[in-house]
């Protein structure tokens, strides 16, 4: 329950109100660099302000660099993004279940991300691309609010030049300079090239977007057991003590945040659960 101390090493702007922070644990001994699985999250504290859950957005192959991509929306997240390099940050983690990376082997992998939902999916992409031959087709469908909200732009550009990953980006609101697609991300599913019978889908974004994405994936023929979602709930502890993250029968911090769709299907359909 007591946070460790991490230092802010590097800070990059990744969109309006969005910053990517590289942290390094101060008390780290080589042997105890916290290995994390793609999809897991950490609890970050700004001392005197508060603590919030933030997904790991970095490369699992480089665990010493604790990378987090944060949108400034309120007290703690804005304080995090205002910190200067060298600042101390309280760190607890990693927590939660990650993406089912073992299940992706030899299958087509469809990644559907909305907004900041791309952040917790980036570690999965690093893992897939690092060992590209183990997988079938890889499709990334990503929706952002506007062109300037697109996260990890230069990285997406360089991945786009690869021939072994299909990337489709859409925006809700285009600017005159935008040459790409306009519209919601679930609409990209029907046009994407993958084999629904052998595909696995990893989905993260606002809950409404995930509902539509799941519907589109099922329409395309992907089975419920092959769709995984990362859920979001208020979190105060991340260790199943505070009760805040309950989603019906489960704790999002303990059984989640990544869930197989068929295991929470009933809950996802309910209002205000």
């Amino acid at each position: 329950m007591v946070p460790r101390i991490a230092r802010l090493r590097r800070k990059r702007r990744d969109g309006p109100q969005v910053w990517t922070l590289d942290l390094e644990l101060e008390d780290r001994h080589a042997s105890e660099a916290p290995r994390f699985a793609p999809g897991q999250f950490n609890m970050l504290t700004v001392f005197g302000v508060g603590e919030v859950p933030i997904s790991v957005s970095g490369d699992p192959a480089a665990p010493d660099r604790l990378v987090h991509t944060i949108r400034s929306v309120g007290a703690v997240s804005s304080a995090l993004t205002r910190l200067a390099p060298g600042a101390a940050i309280g760190f607890r983690g990693p927590f939660g279940t990650g993406w089912p990376m073992e299940e992706t082997v030899a299958r087509d992998v469809v990644i559907v991300a909305g907004g900041l939902g791309l952040a917790p999916l980036r570690p999965a992409l690093y893992r897939l691309l690092a060992d590209r031959l183990r997988y079938g087709r890889i499709v990334l469908l990503y929706g952002a609010r506007s062109p300037e909200d697109i996260l990890f732009r230069s990285e997406l550009e360089s991945w786009r030049r690869r021939l072994d990953i299909a990337i489709e980006v859409t925006v809700d609101h285009a600017t005159s300079a935008w040459r790409g697609r306009v519209g919601v991300v679930p609409a990209l599913v029907a046009r994407a090239d993958f084999d629904p019978l052998h595909a696995i889908a990893l989905v993260c974004g606002p809950e409404v977007m995930m509902r539509f994405a799941v519907a589109a994936l099922r329409d395309a023929g992907v089975a419920d057991e092959s769709i995984y979602l990362s859920m979001e709930r208020n979190m105060k502890c991340a260790i199943a003590f505070c009760g805040h993250c309950q989603l019906g029968t489960v704790f999002v911090c303990r059984e989640g945040p990544v869930f197989r769709h068929d295991r929470i299907r009933g809950l996802l359909a309910l209002k205000e659960i």
Binding site: M1, V2, G48, E51, G74, R233, A240, F241, Q246, I273
Partner: protein, 371 residues
């Protein structure tokens, strides 16, 4: 576990003295602000001797008894969780200087706690919170520090409260395990004695330190009769065998809107419940920013903040919050922790300002289940 001994009023005093001599902080029921609450006690005169309570939905009243019983009442607004899972607890402090930060976990008190007069439903509630804080993937060190080495003096209820339904929940009124010593109070015109059962080695040692004698067959019969009488006098009942599935099947039942017309979302029910464990945290800083800290306090699923995520609450309506609370207590707790989250103590019924009754709500759903 067989009844092994009988002690008198003086024996109960000797038990308190013995526990204190052995370094225990003795905590038990006492009279304050027109209610029976838990506090430090030193003598049997600190107990609500000769008092009883009358409880119903939204109603609690103390009355004099015709006799001098030490434990002749049901549970009040407090539960033992206030000692094990404090309402307000600093978790850590951090000292900041010249860019350096040192985080120091809050030290826990080292005194051993003895709980006097723990009811069977409350023993079950302790076991339920043990599952939450001690038996999952993470252990709460603060709860553990307070819980370890507890001495539990159980009391088998001699009187059912007006809102009790432990018989329905299989949690009482007789304590079966989880205690060091268990007392059954026998009080009538000719005698005032306590039949004692031993539940642990620590209990056996403690019994050895206080004056006691063997029970007579008549005393054993009288003790059994006390429990049987209480069993037959439960203020409430609830069909619990299938309630887990019943509520999960009816998450969209119209009754949730009906109860929302009455519920004030005050959260009283969660505060008095002996198993509710939810908390929130608050961070603070001194003016100079040289010291910051985090404090944890009891929270309630009835607040809007509880489920707040970006710009709104997941559970904005009263019906969704009541549904969260009741389904958690009676249903989803099984999925999360393998037990019920309700022990049938009746506190949430008594202390609800508008008298909403969990047993009645279950029955209403059961009787009007859409098929």
């Amino acid at each position: 576990m067989a009844a092994e001994a009988v002690v008198t009023l003086e024996g109960v005093q000797a038990l308190l003295d013995g526990l204190r001599r052995n370094g225990y902080r003795t905590l038990g029921p006492t009279l304050r602000d027109q209610a029976i609450v838990y506090d430090d006690i030193a003598t049997i005169d600190d107990l609500p001797r000769g008092w009883t309570d009358e409880q119903d939905g939204g109603r609690y009243r103390l009355l004099r008894r015709m006799d001098d019983a030490l434990f002749g009442y049901a549970v009040g607004p407090h539960s033992w969780k206030k000692y094990l899972h404090p309402p307000l607890l600093r978790l850590w402090r951090a000292e900041h200087d010249d860019g350096g930060v040192r985080v120091v976990a809050e030290p826990d008190p080292t005194d051993k706690l003895a709980f006097i007069g723990v009811r069977s439903c409350e023993i079950h509630a302790l076991a339920i919170q043990d599952r939450v804080f001690l038996e999952g993937a993470y252990v709460d060190p603060h709860y553990r520090a307070r819980r370890e080495g507890n001495f539990i003096v159980a009391v088998n209820c001699g009187q059912a409260g007006g809102t009790c339904f432990c018989v329905s929940m299989g949690t009482g009124p007789k304590a079966q395990s989880g205690f060091d010593l268990a007392l059954t109070e026998i009080v009538d015109t000719s005698r005032h004695a306590f039949v004692v059962e031993v539940g642990s080695e620590a209990g056996r040692r403690m019994l050895g330190e206080i004056p006691h004698r063997s029970p007579t067959p008549d005393e054993l019969d009288a003790a059994d009769a006390v429990v049987t009488r209480t069993e037959g006098a439960m203020g409430r009942k609830m069909q619990a065998d299938d309630v887990h599935e019943l509520l999960l099947r009816n998450l969209e039942h119209g009754r949730w809107d009906d109860v929302a017309q009455r519920c004030l979302t005050c959260g009283n029910c969660t505060m008095v419940c002996p198993t509710c464990f939810c908390t929130t945290v608050e961070d603070s800083s001194d003016l100079a920013g040289r010291e910051t800290s985090r404090t944890r306090r009891w929270d309630s699923c009835f607040t809007m903040d509880f489920s707040y995520i970006h710009g709104g609450s997941v559970r904005a309506s009263t019906s969704s919050r009541y549904r969260q609370w009741m389904t958690h207590k009676l249903s989803t707790w099984f999925d999360q922790f393998g037990t019920s989250g309700c022990v049938g103590c009746g506190r949430c019924i008594t202390w609800c300002p508008v008298g909403i009754d969990i047993t009645e709500e279950v029955t209403a759903i059961r009787d009007s289940e859409p098929r």
